[in-house]
């Protein structure tokens, strides 16, 4: 009699072979071969679904069943108690736990996938001896089949486990590869792309993988030379970290990317594959660029503010000095006027007396000589002439200072803005400075043939003359045997006319650089300079002409003055 006691034996496909076999066994006495085949049929079922399979064998009958429940406790308990009575080596070697009872035999097999159990139940309890004999008989028939089955099952089980693990791992890797937000690619030793993910396709702008696969990576970079450099690094180090590359997309645009890659090598060191991750940093770069642009703009604005602050300070200072100068000029001018006038009259009167004294010497030479010798009049008259002459010079200097002060304070200035040829101005200034230049300095002009500018010509000439004379005096003051050199250049720079006056004099010391444009500051010996020349020049160029006047140390160790004048002046400035 054949029975299928347990519920899973229904229409499930997995049980179909069992049912078929059971049906067969129901109508035919089961020879040992069939039992072996039957167990073989059960094998995959037991493994995959961890089904508890039971077969009941009695000397008279065979009972087979399958269920998913644990074996009944009383069977298991008895089975273990009687286990030592059965010597069944093949199964013991197959990592199976074998137990027998007076009523049957239990084989519990464990492996990594879980455990399943084959329960072979013998006859009724009151037929224990016969049952044991029957079990032994059955197992002697089934032994080889069960043994090979168990071995095969375990191998298959292991293989399936490994395959499953591999499959899972592969799925994880595939997901990682495909879903990564960065481009991941693999190329062969010749840098031909063999694999690329979705992010890579998007990055390159490719719609079809075959647009990319089979093509050289170099086809996608802006600079093939960079790629070669990268490959050399890979070859040398085996990896490259954060290498920046410029990729070109299918639409012609470029993407700035960061690549980290490594090579897979054979034992002999030859590269089999290059695996790389590429991150698009175009947006990051754009943000950085914008930030830098703002930063540089801020620096520029800050510098302009500082310059404006200094300029304002300078203007305030100049304005104050201008007011002071105006006051001084006014106060000095009047007394100097009548002093000069009186001095001239006095000089004329002295000339008259001098003439009278000479005529007296003709009338009475002896008396004249007596008086002259007694009072040492010859010496006195000579001294009077010298004193008058020195006083004249002194007056001239006072008048010049007052004139400069007036000029500084913009008193008595009426010359208007007009078209002015800077290069002609330089030439005429050189003519005026000829006396200062001729003994010690050679002058060369490098004119850029610039367009005329709008300026007050007389004032610009005064600036040029001041700077040229200063340069000549500085060179002469060095006392060198060889002649000095002054180079004057004119350059047209956008809306600005530039004049550079370069000398090979001693240069301006760092500690006085800030004082150079200050009124009354001079390094010349007393009597040689008023200290107003450069202050006046600064005022003319910067305040009046809205230009720029600066100086720098040149390679010869001397000074180069830079005069920058705008070609056009605003109407307000001109008026």
């Amino acid at each position: 009699m054949i029975e299928s006691k347990e519920s899973p034996i229904h229409t499930n496909n997995l049980f179909a072979p069992i049912l078929k076999c059971l049906e067969y066994l129901a109508s035919n006495p089961p020879p040992s071969k069939l039992v072996a085949e039957f167990l073989t049929l059960l094998a995959p079922l037991c493994i995959n679904d961890k089904v508890l399979v039971s077969a009941r064998v009695t000397p008279e009958d065979w009972h087979f069943g399958a269920n998913q429940k644990e074996i009944e406790p009383q069977y298991a308990k008895k089975a273990f108690q009687a286990a030592k009575n059965l010597d069944y080596a093949p199964l013991a070697n197959s990592q199976a736990e074998i137990a027998t009872t007076a009523h049957g035999l239990t084989i519990k097999i464990e492996d990594k996938a879980g455990s399943f159990m084959i329960c072979v139940v013998g006859a009724q309890e009151d037929r224990a001896d016969n049952t044991t004999a029957a079990i032994k008989k059955v197992f002697s028939i089934l032994a080889s089949s069960i043994h090979s089955y168990l071995q095969r099952t375990m191998e298959i089980n292991k293989k399936r486990m490994v395959e499953k693990t591999l499959r899972r791992s592969e799925e994880q890797l595939r997901t990682f590869f495909e879903e990564s937000k960065d481009m991941i690619y693999m190329s062969n030793a010749d840098d031909i792309i063999a694999s690329i993910n979705k992010a890579g396709m998007q990055l390159l702008g490719a719609k079809d993988k075959f647009e990319v696969l089979g093509h050289s990576f170099s086809d996608w970079v802006v600079s093939g030379e960079d790629r070669n450099h990268f490959l050399q690094k890979i070859k040398h180090n085996g990896f490259v970290i954060d290498h920046e590359i410029l990729l070109k997309r299918t639409d012609g645009s470029t993407a700035f990317c960061l690549e980290t890659a490594q090579s897979v090598k054979r034992i002999d060191g030859t590269i089999i594959e290059i695996q790389g991750i590429v991150r698009d940093i175009t947006d990051r770069i754009k943000t950085e660029r914008d930030l830098w642009a703002k930063n540089l703009e801020l620096v520029e604005v800050n510098n302009q503010l500082q310059t404006a602050h200094l300029k304002m300070f300078e203007q305030e200072k100049m304005a104050s000095i201008g007011q002071l100068a105006a006051g001084i000029a006014h106060e000095i001018n009047n007394p100097v006027g009548f002093l000069k006038s009186n001095h001239a009259t006095l000089h004329a009167y002295l000339e008259t007396l001098h003439t009278a004294w000479k005529q007296a010497s003709i009338l009475d030479p002896a008396a004249h000589r007596l008086i002259a010798d007694g009072l040492d009049l010859d010496y006195t008259l000579k001294q009077i002439d010298e004193l008058v002459s020195e006083s004249d010079e002194g007056f001239q200097r006072i008048i010049a200072i007052v004139k400069n002060l007036k000029s500084f304070a913009r008193i008595d200035q009426a010359e208007p803005f007009g078209s002015y040829d800077l290069e002609k101005g330089i030439e005429s200034s050189l003519m005026l400075a000829r006396n200062e230049l001729k003994y010690a300095v050679d002058v060369s002009c490098e004119f850029g043939h610039i367009q005329p500018i709008m300026a007050v010509g007389g004032e610009i000439n005064q600036v040029l003359l001041n700077i040229i004379v200063n340069a000549a005096q500085a060179i002469s003051g060095m006392g060198k045997a060889e002649r000095g050199r002054i180079v004057i250049r004119t350059i047209e720079r956008k809306a600005i006319a530039v004049c550079e006056i370069e000398d090979n004099g001693p240069g301006i010391k760092d500690e006085i650089k800030k004082l150079v444009f200050d009124p009354f500051f001079t390094t010349k010996p007393p009597g040689k300079g008023t200290g107003l020349g450069l202050a006046l020049s600064y005022d003319i160029v910067v305040q009046k002409h809205h230009g720029h006047l600066s100086f720098s140390r040149n390679q010869a160790g001397g000074t180069t003055f830079h005069i920058e004048l705008p070609y056009r002046q605003a109407e307000k400035a001109q008026s």
């Binding site: 410029l246 830098w292 510098n303």
Partner: protein
Amino acid sequence: MDIDQQNRGAQELFPPSSDLRVKVSAALKPVGVLVALGGSLDTTQSKALLCYLEQLVDQIGPGDSLIIGLDSLHYISSTGIGCLTHILSVTTKRGISFSLYGMTIKVREVFSLLGFLDFFNFIDELEINHD
């Protein structure tokens, strides 16, 4: 500035085996200091170069020039450009004239593609003191 000392410092930071080569010279026209770069200016080298240039800038006075020679540089990363931009910012603050000289077409292209070309002043002529 002691050019030899600067070169010794550069030699320590960027030995011949380094991807980046740095040589300092005195420039005659425009007057100033020339720092010639060669090789490859990548992310790692950029950090070291930035430190080096910052120290160098400290020794240059307002009104003088700092020129970076790029004619032997065959690779520049965005970090390298960032390094030069930083130095541009520092020099502008200090009133030092900062220029780039001899940029290769390839390096210029990187500057251009990244949009940093307009930030810099370029000079076409340079006279170096070879003493």
